[in-house]
């Protein structure tokens, strides 16, 4: 099932998809463009851990003139960075290169500590789509990619749906694409990840306990282009959803 977190009539609540509309628990329906979408996540009492991968597709690593990493290149993000479907992300004044990154995102469902790859999928609640914008003008070689590039307010749209893991039999074979103003600029497939989802869960849970609601953004393939104010960016993953964002 596809779940969305929606502000409807002033209240944040869950909804599901029903025939191209949102169905609420009280039986009411609403159009997708009549509501405010939040990241499809249950609030957590402690801040959720948001892990994000860099250079996790061989072609993207090549594009960026780095050799493929021997172990995951991971950075953390704060919740300030998250944003909903159909929202706006600000391009800072005067920058030359701000690009989207379409990423399959894992939502952890159970506490995971020292989990082996054979059991890793048992710890997944579901999947969603992230657009992990980067402002490359601000890259520095200290804890690269540094937070000024990757942790800007509202610069990580997430959604629209949380799709139950049981509805995604093979997350490692999903087509992935991005359009800017309707024109295809990025296409790839999750089968080309260097470190796949079971590997990542095993790798992280070996040294840090993952908890329900934690996120793993699994990286993006090549085809990133500069986005300007007014551009409508749709990052889409087969069977997971099409996440829309407008550059402000």
């Amino acid at each position: 099932m596809k779940h969305a977190r929606i502000v409807h009539e002033g209240v944040a609540q869950w909804a599901t998809e029903r025939d191209g509309q949102l169905l609420f628990a009280d039986g009411n329906l609403a159009a997708f463009d009549a509501v405010t979408w939040l990241p499809p996540l249950e609030p957590t009492t402690q801040p959720r851990t948001i892990l994000a991968l860099g250079l996790n597709y061989a072609d993207h690593a090549k594009e960026l003139a780095f050799k493929a990493p021997e172990e995951p290149l991971v950075f953390l993000k704060g919740e300030n960075s998250l944003n909903g479907h159909r929202q706006f992300t600000r391009r800072p004044d005067g920058v030359k290169f701000m690009h989207y990154e379409c990423e399959l995102t894992v939502v952890i469902g159970r506490e995971a500590k020292k989990v082996g790859r054979a059991d890793a999928y048992d710890f997944v609640r579901g999947y969603t789509v992230a657009n992990d914008y980067a402002v490359r003008d601000y890259l520095e070689n200290w804890y690269r990619p540094n937070l000024r590039v990757k942790n800007r307010d509202g610069a990580t749209p997430l959604g629209p749906w949380l799709v139950d893991a049981t509805d995604v039999p093979n997350p490692m074979a999903l087509a992935l694409s991005t359009t800017v103003n309707g024109k295809l600029t990025q296409s790839g497939n999750t089968k080309d990840m260097i470190f796949d989802v079971p590997f990542l869960i095993e790798y992280f849970s070996a040294f840090m306990t993952l908890r329900p609601g934690d996120l793993i953004l699994t990286g993006t393939p090549d085809g990133v282009v500069d986005c300007r104010p007014g551009d409508v960016v749709v990052t889409e993953i087969e069977g997971i959803g099409a996440l829309m964002n407008t550059i402000a």
């Binding site: 953390l76 704060g78 919740e79 500590k113 070689n141 840090m208």
Partner: protein, 208 residues
Amino acid sequence: MSLDDLRTVYGTLLNFRGELEALGAQMNEPPYGAPPKAPVLYIKPANTWSRNRAAIALPAHVAQIEIGATIAMVMKGPGEVAGYVLMNDLSIPHTSSFRPPVKFKCLDGFLGIGDTLLPAGPEIDPARFRLEVRINGELKQSVDFAQLVRPAAQLLADVNEFMTLGAGDVLMLGIDAGRPLARAGDCIEIGAAGLGTLSNTLVAEAAS
């Protein structure tokens, strides 16, 4: 603002003059190429949080860990500091600062958090903070927060230029060079006037 309601905890690298001096010309060499321009931050996620007096487990493959004694600002809201708290930001020793230090800094329990919030106010000047680190009672490090590259207010302003620290978010002021090392069995105490003492004992992780 209660210390039970913390949100994202950010650490700050290279905000002590002693850290910059220790790196010296290396900052202009590969892979860095230049000294940092913006504040260099990292995140200590919630799995790392340890209370005052909690035991902190060291994995079997880690013989020694580095103590990152500091004082952090706890935010009341955007641009507004609620108060200050002691922190013990533990790391597996590592030399490179090129990539985010997740596997060195984000192990379970690797952030001691003090239980005293010193409320912010006009009479509190973070540049006057001093802290002392003791291992098993022996003084190992004294830290003078007059030696910050960006004083607290400047650090906060420069971070807010690119991201908003909201209620409960935390920003460490920095960790000076000369960080003591400790091993399983050691009791680490970090103390500062007005901020109490943060005490954590290191224990060897039980074999799994």
